[in-house]
Amino acid sequence: MSGFRLADGGRIDRRTKRNFTFDGKARWGYAGDSLASALLAQGQMLFGRSFKYHRPRGILGAGVEEPNALVTVDRGPGRVTPNLRAPSVALHDGLKATSQNRFPTLKTDLIAVNNVLSAFFPAGFYNKTFMWPRAAWEKVYEPIIRRLAGLGDSPTTRDPDHYDATYAHCETLVVGAGPAGIAAALEAAANGGRVILIDEQEEIGGGALSDPAQWAWLAEASAKLAAMDNVTVLPRTTAIGHYHQNFVVAAERLTDHLSLAEAEGAREKLWRIRAGEVVLAMGAIERPLVFEGNDVPGVMLASAAKTFALRYGVAVGRKLVVMAVHDSGWRDALALHKAGVNIAAIVDLRRDVASELTEAARNARIACYQGYAVTSVSGGQAVKGVTIALAGIGKGQQLDCDAVLMAGGWTPTVHLWSHAKGTLRWEERWGAYVPDKTHENLRCVGACAGDWDFGKGLSGGLLPAPKPLHESKAFVDFQNDVKARDIGLAVQEGFRSIEHIKRYTTNGMATDQGKTSNLNGLQIASGVLHRPVTEIGLTTFRPPYTPQSFGAILGHHKEALFQPLRKTVIDDWAAAQGAVYENVAQWRRARYFPQGSEDMDAAVARECRTVRSAVGVFDASTLGKIEVVGPDAAEFLNRMYTNPWKSLEPGRCRYGLLLGEHGFIIDDGVSARLAPDRFHLTTTTGGAARVLNLMEDYLQTEWSDLDVWLTSTTEQWAVIAVQGPKARRVIEPLVEGIDLSPEAFPHMSVREGMICGVDTRLFRVSFTGELGFEVNVPAQHGRMVWEAIWAEGQKHGAAAYGTETMHVLRAEKGFIIVGQDTDGTVTPDDAGLGWAVGKKKPDFVGKRSLSRPDIVAPGRKQLVGLLTDDPQAVLEEGAQIVADPNQPVPMTMIGHVTSSYHSATLGRSIAMALVAGGRDRMGETLHIPMPDKTISAKVVAPMFYDAEGSRLNG
């Protein structure tokens, strides 16, 4: 038992008790306490175990810089948050917190054996040791390291909370609501612009919260800000990153400070703020000192002890020793003394300290040891005393105490400044980097600008010691267990840049990101290398400033709102019919319509037979559609597509093949000329947005002289494909103003007229090989027209079919699907579509690439058909193909299966494949090795049904 509650003082509400548990034990504190202050008040000094050596650790800081006291807070199933810093956890009734990184308990930790053996676990240990033998990695090393690695446990159940998100705009954003930030906000607000003031703590005030002399001013300033219409004050909000053009992302914690019963609404809110000017008032963080035993629980920052006493009314011990190299340690000691905390001694490495400080200390009857350093700390799980020595090497002298306060100077918090690519300059007076130049409308004020009076001090954190560096256990990075000697070792191993030293030692990594360790690490490296700090470099600060929940970053993008699921106007009808769906790009499409107990194979077989023998109806609404309009429309399409378009007559359709500049197929579709200056293009479902962007890109950058404009009409038209020998009979009674006779309305033509009383663009096209129509109607009428066609179809035995049947029917005809039978390396000739390339055309996108040497070289993979020797064997799509199944492994793979189905029409399996030199292999038998057997198949032309195309006419 060491810490205790002072008789008075602090901003806590002593009339309101809060009950909570820590590691299962009942505890209590007051409203306004943090988890750390409440536990310290009850004498808890041990808060956690260190990451690598499992050393007992206590509180180091009173804010987000805390590297040791990481806790897990359990708010019920799915609401377990690891790695929260105890000083930043607000106390509420029913809080359930547990310590981390200990096994089985905080006091008795078995893995602390690492600590005894720590001489065998130096920096770089993992990199070197677990390399050999190679086979042991998977079975031995990795499972063990995985169990030991990581901080806290990952959640294993769904997070039931929801998260809010918003954009916000302001003329001035102030990050940090200490005295400097509040002053900046008041000044900006007086100019009338919108001001947002954010602060990570429970209440605004920053350092002023630990200085009762400023409380009256703080109350007045807070009231003034609250009364201003143009000011938004956001406490419990952390600015996690600064991005280009003053875009700052901040996470507001809305309910974590409340008990679950009081928590209403979203748990957190993500603020995406665009600000005219950003003012950073993020303050500074005190630096620890590096000496033997500086990690014993009870050794902490002087500023932390001051905050616990003055803000929370908690003394961190009954007899404190201050180890300072900076005036601020003396000031804090005097403030603590005034608050009733017993300061036994102030030890300062400096012989010369300002006389007003030394006199004040003597008047307070505090023993002063100038020119001395702490050389060791006694105590395991709590401080029992310290040894001090003149200049760190003189004769040791014991001092009794139960807490040690370190005052190593201050480090301006420049994280967001650095996110914004602001440059830093070394400031000798601070022994730290301070903001220099920026290209954003961004400035720093107060301590983070280096503009704050903490007094004078030394800038090096490593205290002189009797032991050589390589024998000492003086910690630099508490969270990652990096000792001063590890940095020495890194230098000895040849690392010179701080970026390398960081990665070798892990100094400044994990949740802490070096908030307390960066500069000490830098200065120790500088000392060992005998080079100035500025020549060693500085590691880069990256967002987030403190760890954030994934929930806050996702905002509303969760579960059903994760991303839009696009449905056609016929989707509800399909759902009512029991359709089974598949997702295609963002669309949900009906895959098949099972009847009774049918599985997919049975349903697809029935749907296929119905289309081939009677008629089928298919929702093709997701096809991409682009209206191309203007006097230069035909010229434009002629340049985009491989085939000629200028000669296409109004009322006729053409299959268009689209290449990239590389000459490979990227999209295809049937398009129609409605008028001399108007085309109705179709694209693949997944390619719609991409193709429109590509075309728009060419229009704006290459051919801006053309008078032609593109409009996406994908969602304007619902498309109902009616396919099969009875297709004409189904639509005939519904259509007005269009002569459907084969002579008047041949295959690959389009007519405008009416169907069911609404406008239609009626296409006579076929992706099945049967007589077919595609009925385009404005989407708002799609469902009505579908139902009318469906009702008419019932007289002719129609079936609704889905994408799976569509795939089988087109494969029987050898029609490709871009992205399935092509993979971005397939030319028109490879796909057997050489006929679709206009030989006489002067140019089109991709034309030049088609004459590249490797494109015209023999042996390219070409699309062929495969018929398995066993007609019932259905090949696996993606399976590799070899010429000789008896060759040794690894075999030479000459191609792969792209499409494969059982064809009910043919009573056997069919497949398409890309095979090297495929068209020269007609009749050859190839082999498809599978895990359990090898399947043989004969190479055939990719056309399995009605090669002469007679069925197109019904």
């Binding site: 990952s154 294993t156 159940t157 769904r158 929801h162 809010d164 998100a165 918003t166 954009y167 916000a168 705009h169 609404g265 979203a266 809110k269 995406r272 665009r274 509303h556 993008h557 579960e559 059903a560 709102l561 994760f562 991303q563 839009p564 699921l565 696009r566 449905k567 056609t568 106007v569 997702n583 669309w587 949900r588 209206e627 309009v629 203007g630 006097p631 008028a675 001399p676 200056d677 108007r678 008078d707 032609v708 404009w709 409009t711 996406s712 009409t713 994908t714 969602e715 304007q716 038209w717 404005p778 989407a779 708002q780 009428h781």
Partner: protein, 176 residues
């Protein structure tokens, strides 16, 4: 092995509401059916003559339902059934897209907050009567400030269900 519940991204069904939904400070409803046209031309005068309507010249301006979206692009939201000449042979593009989008209306002091929850523009500074093409999170929309607290949002039909529900999710956090 840690068992993690299966991720269901698109299995959950969202429904597009039909009736207005009133929150504390904002009401979400459907706009009446409209005729919609995409209007394109290099020369606004030629287009204006074809359709017999004045067209605003400044991007973001709106006049009688015609919004100037870009240097050569207008978007007309007109009473249902309004027909328009197509200007055959002229250097213009008049395309009927009446069915492509749906109109949603956010009305009330909290409407701006709902829109700002997912739209990165500084809509608070948008003058009444102005309109623009923008996004709500990943979904393209056109926003038209019809009155101080009344916003008309155009969204492609298949994205409307998601947008309707995203608006609903934002209503509780939006204050007037």
């Amino acid at each position: 092995m840690v068992e993690i519940a299966e991720i269901a991204v698109s299995a959950a069904e969202l429904k597009l509401g039909t009736e207005p939904v009133a929150g504390a400070s904002v009401t979400l409803s459907h706009a009446a059916p409209r005729a919609r046209y995409s209007l394109r031309a290099r020369d606004a005068k030629v287009l204006s003559d074809v359709i017999g309507r004045a067209l605003p010249g400044r991007i973001g301006d709106q006049a009688d339902g015609a919004i100037c979206l870009g240097p050569d692009e207008w978007y007309a939201i007109l009473p249902e059934g309004t027909a328009m000449p197509r200007g055959e042979g002229l250097p213009v593009s008049v395309t009927d897209i009446s069915s492509r989008a749906l109109g949603l209306v956010l009305e009330g002091p909290g409407a701006l907050g709902v829109l700002s929850s997912g739209c990165p523009l500084d809509l608070g500074k948008m003058a009444v009567g102005r309109a623009t093409r923008t996004v709500f999170e990943t979904v393209e929309i056109i926003v038209w400030r019809e009155a101080e607290d009344r916003w008309h949002v155009e969204v492609w039909r298949s994205f409307a269900t998601w947008l309707w529900n995203a608006f609903l999710a934002a209503i509780p956090g939006a204050h007037g």
